[in-house]
């Protein structure tokens, strides 16, 4: 049903070989990288990326492109019981958790800044795996009755065929997904990131 991950490691290997530049290019490449990282840190600062490390869902709506998900989550039953990160970030150990977050956070920030986001954002494979694990983590009592372990444990580990939300299609973000899917939703106001003095000068 879903895109497979095979060939990914192969692809990474090839990428590494491709990325290492020929000798005479190394200096310009290094400089370019420097600029990139510098700017990168600036983005991290200005986009409130530090807040990304917290578990407060409000930090997600720092980016208005996350509004539909926030709005649908907040008004659903999970709005009362689970934060975004309860579902979207691995919860089994701290290293994995923050590695995952950093990875995602930087990619999201880059996409957002570059306006690369598609009209309909779709969850990636790594994200799916994380979410699925989390559904199971909370609802294990419903799907792991002791007597049924044989069937469901196998099912759980081999989750490439069926995700919880293949059946529970409305949980938690609803059926309709798009940047425009909750046009007038009332969500927490964003904190200004432009310092007051700059605000005064520019206005």
């Amino acid at each position: 049903m879903e895109d497979s991950q095979s060939g990914r490691t192969n692809f990474l290997k090839k990428l590494v070989f491709k990325i290492i530049p020929p000798d005479r290019w190394r200096v310009p490449v290094l400089i370019t990288f420097g600029i990139f990282f510098g700017l990168g840190f600036y983005i991290v600062y200005i986009s409130n990326a530090a807040s990304y490390l917290s578990d407060n869902p409000k930090t997600c709506v720092n980016c208005h492109v996350m509004t539909p998900q926030y709005a649908t989550w907040e008004r659903g039953s999970h709005g009362k019981v689970a934060t975004c990160n309860d579902c979207h970030v691995p919860q089994d150990n701290l290293i994995r958790k923050y590695w995952f977050k950093a990875n995602d956070g930087l990619r999201h920030a880059t996409y957002f800044t570059m306006r690369w986001e598609p009209q309909v954002i779709r969850i990636k494979q790594a994200g799916k795996d994380a979410v699925q694990e989390n559904c199971i983590r909370c609802h294990s009592n419903l799907i792991h009755p002791v007597a049924l372990r044989a069937i469901n444990n196998r099912n759980v580990q081999d989750q490439t065929e069926k995700y919880c939300w293949d059946c529970h299609r409305e949980t938690p973000h609803g059926r309709v997904h798009s940047l425009s899917s909750t046009p007038h939703a009332i969500v927490p106001q964003l904190k200004p990131v432009v310092p007051e003095w700059l605000e005064k000068i520019t206005n």
């Binding site: 700017l39 200005i46 798009s178």
Partner: protein
């Protein structure tokens, strides 16, 4: 780079009119000054590069693709020329150039034909009155209609609210006891399309001298409901030149068909698929590049269906392929029935003998056309399309059985010899169309008359956008 994040936070959602729009303003480019995003995307309907398996904006010459159609429409304008519709911006151009609207010498269409082609229609209706508008001829009024389908047709210039500008729709609902104000905002997102993408006929009796545009919905929206409506008033669009059957022509009953499908039942509107929302720079707007949604699966279907693009395309095309298979079965049977009916007449069949057969042909072809004329080749409501087609096949074959008996009775050897109608040209020659003459006459119209229309129009409105 970084500042763009800051900037994007300030993006706002308000609508503002820079320049107020005059009440009857037909020029899309003038509306466009206020709404550049909508105008820009609207102008993209001029792009004719997209072709899907069965649709798209690239021209499909249906008579070439399905030559039987020429036989089915013998004696009627559609046998000369019938193409898959293109973008709204081409509405004027395509109507002018179609051989259905005739040439300089021979042109028989009424002004009513303009109704679904131009933003000038509301303006002219306002000045001449509705019946007055319906009374002219297509050719004499051509100078009045130069702005293709656009903003004026669907929007109120003050508030930009969706509104209905074509009386035929309002009147059809009124006869059913419904007011336009009964409909929800979501329904309006389909009803603006239902002004045009519907079955219609011209009523010559309603107002003396006028070809009044009427939607035949008094009994309901199904093929059978409309068939009964037409039978009851003994209406026919033309008499078939081979079989002499009193025929009906179905035209693009997209709205009627769509209503019976699962998408409509789930509250999906035409605009959801054909005009999906887009968010650009934090501003949400409606994509006015109305076209096949297969050109834009990511924004249209995927909003609701989290599937791979190729799967969604496959689903549509599979349904269409299957529909086409059964459609062709009906088409071929009907073409033979018309030709056999001609043979029966030629061999002395009587009115009384032919009457029940011609009724079967009329009904079969109407039902086939209800399906075939609906754009989307069945996708809008697969179950209903197939159901109606099944009844069409049965009636066509029943007609052929009766014809076989009648022909044998008249001493004709059965099966009779069929002409070669494997291409559009051959089929048109067989039914006696003089295509060269028609094309030459059209050329004169294009060269001698259209420039005058455009000149007059430019004088009237001050500017003339090229589409």
């Amino acid at each position: 780079f970084a500042s763009s994040i800051v900037e994007r936070r300030g993006e706002s959602f308000t609508l503002q009119q820079v320049k107020p729009i005059a009440e009857w303003e037909p020029r899309n480019e003038v509306w466009g000054e206020n709404y550049p995003r909508q105008f820009e995307t609207y102008m993209n309907t001029r792009d004719t590069s997209f072709a899907s398996k069965h649709g798209g904006s690239a021209t499909i010459d249906y008579l070439e693709k399905y030559p039987e159609l020429v036989i089915l429409w013998a004696g009627f304008g559609f046998s000369r020329d019938y193409k898959q519709g293109r973008g709204h911006a081409y509405a004027i151009k395509d109507t002018r150039n179609s051989l259905r609207t005739g040439g300089e010498k021979q042109s028989t269409q009424p002004a009513t034909c303009w109704t679904c082609k131009s933003t000038d229609v509301p303006r002219v209706m306002n000045s001449k009155g509705v019946a007055g508008y319906y009374s002219g001829t297509w050719k004499n009024t051509g100078h009045d209609f130069v702005n293709p389908i656009g903003c004026q047709d669907c929007h109120d210039p003050k508030t930009m609210h969706l509104r209905i500008t074509r009386p035929a729709l309002v009147e059809a609902f009124e006869r059913q006891g419904k007011k336009m104000s009964d409909f929800s905002h979501n329904e309006m997102r389909s009803l603006v399309c239902a002004q045009c993408h519907v079955e219609y006929y011209f009523d010559s009796k309603k107002v003396e001298g006028a070809k009044y545009l009427v939607f035949p919905w008094d009994n309901g929206f199904t093929a059978e409901d409309m068939e009964k409506y037409y039978d009851d008033i003994e209406f026919s669009d033309w008499t078939h030149s081979l079989s002499k059957a009193p025929m009906l022509k179905a035209q693009h009953p997209e709205y009627e068909m769509f209503k019976t499908g699962i998408h409509a039942k789930r509250g999906v509107s035409c605009a959801d698929c054909h005009m999906p929302y887009k968010t650009e720079g934090g501003v949400k707007f409606t994509d006015h590049h109305i076209q096949s949604p297969l050109a834009n699966i990511e924004n249209s279907c995927m909003v609701c269906h989290r599937e791979k693009t190729e799967n969604l395309i496959r689903d549509v095309v599979e349904t269409q392929d299957k529909l086409e298979e059964n459609r062709k079965i009906a088409e071929k049977a009907l073409a033979k029935a018309h030709i056999e009916a001609k043979a029966a007449w030629d061999n002395g069949a009587t009115e009384a003998e032919m009457k029940p057969i011609l009724k079967l042909i009329r009904h079969s072809q109407w039902r086939w056309d209800y399906v075939a004329a609906t754009n989307g080749l069945g996708f809008h409501a697969p179950v209903e399309a197939f159901r109606v087609l099944g009844t069409s096949i049965q009636k066509a074959e029943e007609a052929r059985r009766e014809l076989a008996l009648l022909l044998t009775k008249k001493g004709v050897k059965y099966p009779i010899a069929f002409p070669d109608i494997s291409t559009k040209d051959k089929a048109q020659k067989f039914i006696g169309l003089k295509m060269e003459e028609l094309k030459a006459d059209k050329k004169n119209l294009i060269n001698n008359v259209f420039p005058e229309w455009d000149k007059k129009a430019k004088e009237r409105q001050g500017s003339l956008q090229q589409y």
